[in-house]
């Protein structure tokens, strides 16, 4: 009984890490890339994308705002689908 319970806890911890780590990377890396370009190579953000009047910097900035929101949605979805059943199993 006890070993089963510890096993389930370990499964939970590994599951959480598996979900959180990539999402954390997807948050931190694009953000520091964005800030990094602004600090080191700001001219990289100047050209217009395709044949519009919207610069690459503005386009990527708006995409980043969208990405941040998507990350939170994805986490809530994955947590409710995979983490919650595991916690319920431990509670039993």
């Amino acid at each position: 009984m006890k070993s089963n319970y510890i096993h389930q806890l370990n499964v939970l911890i590994k599951l959480r890490a598996k979900i959180i780590r990539p999402l954390l990377f997807l948050t931190i890396a694009p953000y520091f890339f964005f800030i990094g370009v602004i600090a080191f190579k700001p001219e990289m953000f100047s050209p217009f994308i395709f044949d519009t009047h919207i610069s690459l910097g503005i386009f990527l900035g708006l995409v980043l705002i969208l990405l941040i929101f998507i990350i939170t949605i994805v986490y809530v979805y994955l947590a409710n689908k995979f983490i919650e059943p595991q916690i319920s199993a431990i509670k039993k």
Partner: protein, 543 residues
């Protein structure tokens, strides 16, 4: 009390009318009176449910994920960020976006690392979590210092901004504006506690999102919702031309860039008034949902401010109605959104947006005051000095006393700092939150080896170094105090102060061989179990 405020406002209305000012003020004052009446009614209703500690600090813990998400965004979207960021976009274009993204990037961090363990371990304040297995007294004192310095800096910045904004919008003298904001904030928090504060924030968030949406839609409507045409028009009007679509020197050196990035990313996760909101939901599932909702609302809001800033470039930067003799906006760049409301929606929208700006200030300062009061009553009084042996009734009395004291102090500081440059204060609040509050919270949840000794000394050094670097840096030493050269060369201290915190904690904890240290390390596994599963929260808290 309701009547008193109404009469103050009506009186100000009369004095406005006698100045021969235009009619739009009537609309904003009517809308504002409506907001104040509704929120005071809610406060009256909430006062019956806020007599217990649980009711006062957490609104009974029964707020839903969606409600809390709205309240969090209402707590976070300040008038400063609405008017300040749209004003920055109006002035610089792209650079405004850097701040918007910075204020948003902290939310996934809160969600992925902090929200659920915080809800599972804490009861009323984030200090509950940090002191879960560590020595209560020193940790509570440190956490309260971190909370109070963040809250008071934030409050001063909001108060000074509020006084000036209301002066322009409603024609009220600065002093009475600060006193009205402070007075209402004391009423909401003292009588209505977290429940009234939550509803003030929810109503404000809905009003602000609605108002900003209306402006943005009316602006884009003029361009048939064609963003290409919209940006093209803005670059042809703005005197900086197409350079407003790329980075314009807000951040020039790499160290400042990383330092500002760190403060914004991790500072949000150390703001006590934000963290406190997670105790109002029943469990980790709702805590998680509230962050996703809040991120959606706040992200959408920043998209709107971006459109509003560019809209202001196109529609008001060449319109003499909104410019003074030196060709800058009447009331300064921060008035861009307000003038734009008038330009696209006439006096009705202007009145509405003015009232919303006032409501926004009230919601933010109320949340801050509540967090500050709980640091005094729950962390300092009840747990650090009386070691948890007090009666709940006593703690409630102290929390209300603390609310009134903080409110009066805020009004006083708001008046003292009237003519000071307070723009650095929010930045400093974020730096402190990132250098003291956040590392303590993060390490206490995830790092087994954290002991009291390392946490207290490392956290104190982080707090102290963030303040020192800002005071000796360009913004205070040169801009405020008028010295020729800064002693500390960078505007943003977080890279250095956070490093100091983490390295100090790591060294002291690694070499902590004390008996207490071993005991604290041994308590980690059960704490970790509870933080990951939430099992045990029903046993220790009443909800």
């Amino acid at each position: 009390m309701n009547k008193l405020i109404l009469s103050i406002l009506l009186f100000s209305n009369l004095s406005l009318a006698s100045d021969g000012n235009s009619g739009e003020n009537h609309i904003s004052i009517i809308m504002f009176i409506l907001f104040v009446s509704v929120t005071l009614f809610i406060t009256y209703w909430a006062s019956k449910k806020s007599s217990t500690a649980d009711g006062f600090y957490t609104a009974g813990g029964n707020i839903s994920g969606l409600q809390n998400g709205l309240a969090i965004s209402g707590d976070f979207m300040s008038a400063a960020s609405f008017l300040g960021i749209s004003g920055l976009v109006y002035l610089t274009g792209f650079d405004g976006l850097i701040y918007s993204i910075g204020f948003l990037i902290g939310w996934p961090i809160i969600l992925l690392l902090i929200a659920e363990p915080l809800r599972n371990l804490g009861k009323y304040s984030f200090a509950d979590v940090v002191s879960f297995r560590l020595n209560q007294r020193p940790i509570r004192i440190l956490a309260a210092c971190g909370s109070l310095s963040t809250v008071i800096l934030y409050l001063i910045a909001q108060m000074v901004g509020a006084g000036k904004l209301i002066e322009i919008l409603f024609g009220l003298p600065y002093y009475s504006a600060v006193i009205i904001v402070g007075g209402l904030m004391i009423l909401y928090v003292t009588f209505g506690g977290m429940l009234a504060t939550t509803w003030v924030q929810i109503i404000k968030a809905i009003l602000l999102l609605f108002g900003a949406t209306v402006i943005a839609v009316l602006v884009l409507f003029q361009f048939n919702f064609d963003l290409n045409l919209f940006f093209n028009e803005a670059t042809s009007i703005h005197k900086k031309g197409i350079t407003i679509l790329s980075p314009g020197g807000l951040i020039s050196d790499p160290i400042s860039a990383v330092s500002l990035g760190l403060a914004l990313m991790f500072g949000t996760a150390g703001l006590p008034h934000i963290l406190m909101r997670f105790f109002t939901v029943p469990n980790a599932i709702q805590a998680r949902k509230s962050v996703a909702y809040a991120t959606g609302f706040i992200g959408y809001f920043y998209l709107l401010t971006f459109i509003i800033g560019f809209g202001a470039i196109i529609l008001i930067s060449n319109n003499p109605t909104y410019l003074d003799t030196s060709n800058t906006l009447i009331g300064g760049n921060n008035m861009a959104a307000i003038h734009l409301a008038d330009a696209v929606g006439g006096e009705i929208l202007l009145g509405f947006i003015s009232a919303v700006a006032f409501a926004t200030i009230l919601a933010v300062v109320s949340g801050l005051t509540l967090a500050g009061a709980s640091a005094i009553s729950h962390d300092l009084y009840a747990n650090a000095f009386l070691k948890g042996k007090q009666s709940e009734k006593n703690e409630m009395f102290v929390s209300k006393l603390a609310t009134i004291l903080l409110g009066v102090l805020t009004i006083y500081l708001g008046i003292i700092f009237q003519n000071q440059n307070v723009a650095f204060m929010v930045g400093l609040a974020f730096a402190i939150a990132a250098s003291a509050n956040f590392p303590l919270l993060l390490l206490s949840i995830y790092w087994k080896k954290l002991t009291t000794r390392g946490a207290v000394i490392g956290g104190s050094l982080g707090l102290f170094s963030a303040i020192t670097f800002v005071v000796l840096g360009p913004v205070v030493w040169v801009d405020v105090l008028g010295n020729p050269n800064p002693i500390f060369p960078y505007k943003y201290p977080a890279l250095f102060s956070m490093t100091i915190t983490f390295i100090t904690i790591w060294i002291l904890c690694t070499f902590d061989r004390s008996e207490n240290g071993y005991k604290e390390i041994n308590k980690f596994d059960s704490q970790y179990f509870r933080s990951q599963t939430g099992i045990g929260i029903d046993a220790n808290t009443s909800h």
